[in-house]
Structures are given as C-alpha cells and as structure tokens.
C-alpha cells in the first residue's frame, strides 16, 4: 500500500506505547492478548509506566515480559506473588502487579497466594482462569470443571478422586487482607470494558495502601478445550460461568 494513503487517514485507534511491537505467541481466541492489552492501556492512560513493575508467571503467559513494555521480573512457577512482595516491600511507592494462570496461582502457588493476600500486600494480583494447564498441553488444573475431559483426566474429572473445581477467588475474598476481589471475563466487548474498569480501580486503590486487589479473569482456551474460538464463548456461558460466577466478590469498604 502507498504510505501516503496511510498518512492521510485519521488515527482513531492505536495500541498503547506500553505494549511492545513483538508478535504475541498466543493461540487465536485466547484471552491473554486481550487482558494484556487492557492492562497496558490502563498503565498508559494513568501515565504510570515509569513507576510500574510487573511479575510474569510460568505458563502460557510466561513471555508476558516480551509484550508488556514495563520493567518486569519473571518468577518461578507459583511464586509470582512472593516475588511481587519482595519488589513492593523495597519499592513501596511504585505500582506492582503479578500476572498468573490457574495452575500457577491456584495449584503450585496456593500457599504464596493465600499468604500474600493475608498480609494484605499492596499489589494487584491478576489471575487468568481457563480451567486447564494450557502451556503443557491441556492437563487438569485445580479449576477444571467436574467431568471435564483433559489430557490427564481422559475419562473426565472425577471429583471424588481428584477434588472439586477450586474457587480460589472466593477463598481469597474471605481474607481481611483482601481489599478488592472481583471475577471478570473477556468474551464480549462489554466484559472487556468491565475488566478494564476493574484494573483501573485496582491501580487507583494501590495509591490508598488498603490491601490486596485480586482480579480473576475467566478466560477462553480454544486449544486446551479443543473447540473453536467461537465455541469457547458458548462454553464459557454454559459451563464456566455457572461454576465461576462473574462479578465482585469483595468491594472496598470505606473506613
């Protein structure tokens, strides 16, 4: 295309400078890219790129630091909130967030998750729940649904033998250290707008130093669920949301 034609067009949308130009490796229909984008839009709109540190997890979003144009640390599996604690304690005036999936945050990192929130660490924890281990090829996660067929539950998740879907956000919401806990999604434009609002609020709350903000995003995983991206929306609405109800689990109390 002729470059001059592009120059004549009015720019009505562009990605924020807080996202890098690197091609993202996520599968088509995956929710990670959308969460990355709204998270980075908030940091851009608030003008806090120069005072924000992110912690990347192990899992599908292990390369988050390649896409997020902020200072970042890559944590060991499950340990992102402990690493975030270390950063925040020595840089209390900076914004700190961790970004983890369900295997990372709700299985191997359960101890760190509970205790980070219980201490009321003044950080934002972003938790992507797609009910499966995506990166390693679709194994059962603690969040997998009852009867869900995965590569390690080929006959469906038998809750009697291997436990029930773990609603860790509900658990976290019971802790006094939690300031704001919400469960959001990215399957519709409206859901994305709500998520963005939740992220914005969480960073605003971090200025107040009142406790941990915790956002769960119930997210699509076409590759792990072995259905098309379009079908994942139906799956979310019919299977995931009845188990993982969207909405606020704990809202800030003014005191």
């Amino acid at each position: 295309m002729d470059e001059s034609v592009l120059q004549q067009l009015e720019c009505v949308y562009e990605k924020p400078g807080t996202l890098t130009d690197k091609y993202q490796h996520y599968c088509p229909g995956c929710g990670h890219g959308v969460v990355h984008k709204v998270l980075m839009e908030v940091i851009d709109e608030m003008g806090i790129q120069d005072c924000t540190i992110g912690i990347a997890p192990v899992g599908c979003s292990v390369f988050a630091y390649n896409y997020m144009n902020v200072d970042m640390q890559e944590a060991a599996h499950g340990r992102a909130s402990a690493v975030a604690t270390g950063v925040k304690r020595v840089l209390p005036d900076k914004y700190v967030y961790s970004y983890q999936g369900d295997g990372d945050l709700a299985a191997i990192g359960t101890g760190e998750t509970i205790h980070t929130v219980n201490r009321g660490e003044n950080i934002l924890m972003i938790f992507i729940n797609n009910g499966i281990y995506g990166m390693t090829g679709g194994q059962m996660a603690p969040t997998s649904l009852a009867g869900q067929i995965t590569s390690t539950t080929p006959y469906g998740r038998d809750v009697k033998k291997i436990g029930y879907p773990l609603k860790i956000s509900n658990l976290v919401a019971t802790l006094p250290g939690a300031y704001y806990v919400t469960r959001q999604a990215v399957h519709t434009p409206n859901a994305v707008r709500k998520l963005k609002k939740a992220i914005r609020n969480s960073f605003e709350y971090q200025k107040l130093d009142r406790g941990t903000c915790f956002i769960e995003v119930v997210s699509n995983c076409p590759s792990g669920w072995k259905i098309t991206p379009v079908e994942t929306i139906k799956y979310l609405e019919e299977k995931m949301f009845p188990e993982y109800t969207l909405g606020d689990l704990k809202i800030p109390q003014n005191n």
Binding site: Q49, D50, C51, T52, I53, I55, A56, V62, F63, Y65, N69, V70, D71, M72, Q73, E74, A75, A76, R79, A82, V83, A84, T85, G86, V87, K88, R89, V90, L91, K94, G111, E112, I114, H115, R119
Partner: protein, 360 residues
C-alpha cells in the same frame, strides 16, 4: 590511665552478630522463616527493623522467603535470607533462579545435623548442597565459611561485597554451634559498605531507557548455552580472584589437618596436642569453600606427608582435598555425623597414627 575505645567490642551470639553486621552493612531487606538453630537472626531483625529503617518480612515458608529475596534483589535492594539445612533444601529452587538471573544476595545457612528433619545440633552435612550447586542446572554460589563469631560478622560485609561485585548469590555456610555460641566481636560502624542501586534493576521504566527485565527463561538452546558460557566465565573469574584460606604451622608440617568452620577450631586444639607430643602438625583452613583453594593444597602436598580431613559429616570436603592434593600424598578422613562434634583428643590420635608414615 585513659583507655580510648575507638572500636566497638561486644559479647554476642554468632547469629546476632551476623544480623547486627548485616544492618551495619546496609541491609535493605530481609525475608526469613523460623527454624532452629538460626531463629535469632529473624528475631533480631524484627526487633531492629522499625528503629533502623530496613524491610523485614516473616514469610510463610522458606520457598516464599527466597522468592521474596529474588524480587527485592531484582528491584536492586541489598537483600538476604537465612535458614538451616532443611529450610535451605526448600530454597534450592529459588537459589537456582537467583543464580540464573544473576541477582546479588546473601543466603545464610546455619547448618544442622541431617539428613531429613535430622537434629538441631550443629553439622556440616550441607557442604555438597552448598558448594556443588544444590539446585538444578550449572551454577555456583560463592561460599564463605566462618569459624568464629567475629567471622560471622565480618563475612556479611565480604558476602555483600562479593555478591554485588559478581552479581551472584553468596552463601555464608556456618553451623548451629557458631550460631549459638557467644564470643567477643568487633563491629564496624553503620554504613561502612557503599551502595548504589544497579542500573539493571526493575524500578520502573523511564522514557530514557528500555525496560529492564529480570528473567531466567532462555527458550532457544543457542541462547541458553551462551547464558551458561557467560556464567561459567564469571565463575572462572571468581576462582581466579577470590580464593581465601588460612594456614597455621604448615611450613614444617608432616601432617596437615584440613577443616573448615567449627571443625577447624577443634582441629587447632588437636594440632596443639600433637605438637606437645613433638609431632609436626599444621592446619589448612579453607575460608572460601567455593572457590576452593585447590592450588594452595597442591603446593602443600610437596612438603607435607599426610593430609587428614576433619568434618562434621560422612566426608564431603575430603573429595575436594583429594582433588587439590591430586594423588601426591595420602588423604585421610575422620569425622562425626548427625549433630555430633569431633573430639580434639580423637583427632590428635589420628594425627599421631599418621605421623611418621609416608606414601610409598
């Protein structure tokens, strides 16, 4: 007569002297978890933190502690943790990540008897896990072995200095006896170790620089190999520059006792007993367990007839002594295990047995 006290001398427990030294060395953040026989370190920091302006967090586990150290060190803070043997085992994953991420920090291991839950009495059974890696992958810690309460304090300064010079985790490997016993210790004043926040630290990306990333993931094997080559070059440099050891009466010694930490203190008594009997015994004490003083040992093997390694384990450092001596002379071992401490009389008997025997 007027006595001028220019230096501050105190009577302190090893663990407390180490903690006080860390504060004076400009500690910015400590993360720890209670475990005997090192809990005084965490307790001392908790007591001092509000008065002396540093971060202290009692974590939910050693796993969390070491990862908090990762975060704080990655953000450029002078950070440390401490534990005892089973807790250090739990930290090994995080230590591997810290070594791979080239983050400077100090890890203190107040070694107790093992394996398993073991005992709370002093031991040296963690020599292998401290000096040979411990966690996954090819990496090394710089390992310092104090043998007195004074060195428990001194090596904190040396530890932070080396950690920051090489961007490498440093371990102080001590034991339950040195941690618990009281001796007089001379402490330097506050702020005697300069600090500048490193440029690579994740402190928030200003417009003027690219983002800083602390990562240990290098998915392409070609890149991962280069990272390894860089690490190995650094370790070679450390081996060239930082070897430290002490020799006592080695010049004329026919039997050289090789021991570190508490064992070296006990061995000195054994050496004195042997010398009283007219046996020329000496002490070779490695101060850095990594890098190990192989060359110095090899030179001593030209003059001494026998080497006796004394450890509070089943014989771990003896392998490094054999590497140093490299077949020139016989290397023998005596030790106690499971929290038991060697008796100087028994060590002396071993020295006596070896005296007058030569390798044929």
């Amino acid at each position: 007569m007027e006595i001028k006290m220019s230096k501050e001398i105190k009577l302190m427990k090893g663990n407390e002297a180490l903690a006080e030294a860390a504060i004076r060395a400009g500690l910015q953040a400590y993360f720890g978890y209670p475990i005997t026989p090192q809990s005084e370190i965490l307790e001392y920091f908790e007591e001092q933190a509000p008065k002396r302006n540093f971060v202290v967090v009692q974590a939910e586990s050693e796993v969390a502690s070491i990862n908090m150290v990762f975060g704080a060190a990655g953000a450029g803070a002078r950070a440390m943790t401490s534990s005892s043997s089973p807790g250090i085992s739990l930290m090994q994953e995080g230590i591997s990540y810290i070594a791979a991420g080239e983050l400077p920090c100090l890890i203190v291991n107040v070694n107790r008897g093992g394996p398993g839950l073991g005992t709370i009495q002093p031991g040296q059974g963690d020599y292998f896990q401290s000096t040979k890696g411990g966690g996954h992958g090819d990496y090394r810690l710089i390992v310092l072995a104090p043998s007195s309460v004074q060195e428990m304090a001194d090596f904190v300064f040396e530890g932070f200095r080396l950690a920051e010079k090489y961007r490498n985790p440093v371990m102080i490997l001590t034991d339950g006896a040195l941690g618990q016993m009281m001796e007089k210790v001379e402490l330097p004043p506050d702020g005697s170790l300069p600090y500048t926040r490193p440029e690579w630290a994740t402190t928030g990306k200003p417009k003027t620089r690219e983002r800083n990333i602390v990562t240990t993931l290098f998915i392409e094997p070609e890149v991962m190999e280069q990272v390894n080559i860089k690490l190995q070059k650094k370790y070679t440099e450390i081996c060239k520059n930082e070897v430290k050891y002490e020799t006592i009466n080695c010049e004329d010694a026919e039997v050289i006792v090789c021991a570190y930490g508490l064992s070296s203190r006990i061995s000195q008594k054994a050496m004195d007993l042997a010398r009283e009997q007219g046996i020329k015994a000496g002490i070779f004490r490695p101060i850095t367990l990594y890098p190990y003083p192989y060359d110095a040992l090899n030179k001593l093997a030209d003059t001494a007839d026998n080497f006796l390694v004394v450890e509070m384990n089943a014989g771990q450092m003896v392998e490094d002594v054999k590497l140093g001596v490299n077949g020139k002379k016989q290397v023998h071992f005596t030790g106690r295990m499971g929290g038991m401490i060697p008796d100087p009389e028994v060590i002396c008997q071993e020295i006596v047995k070896l005296a007058g025997t030569k390798k044929v």
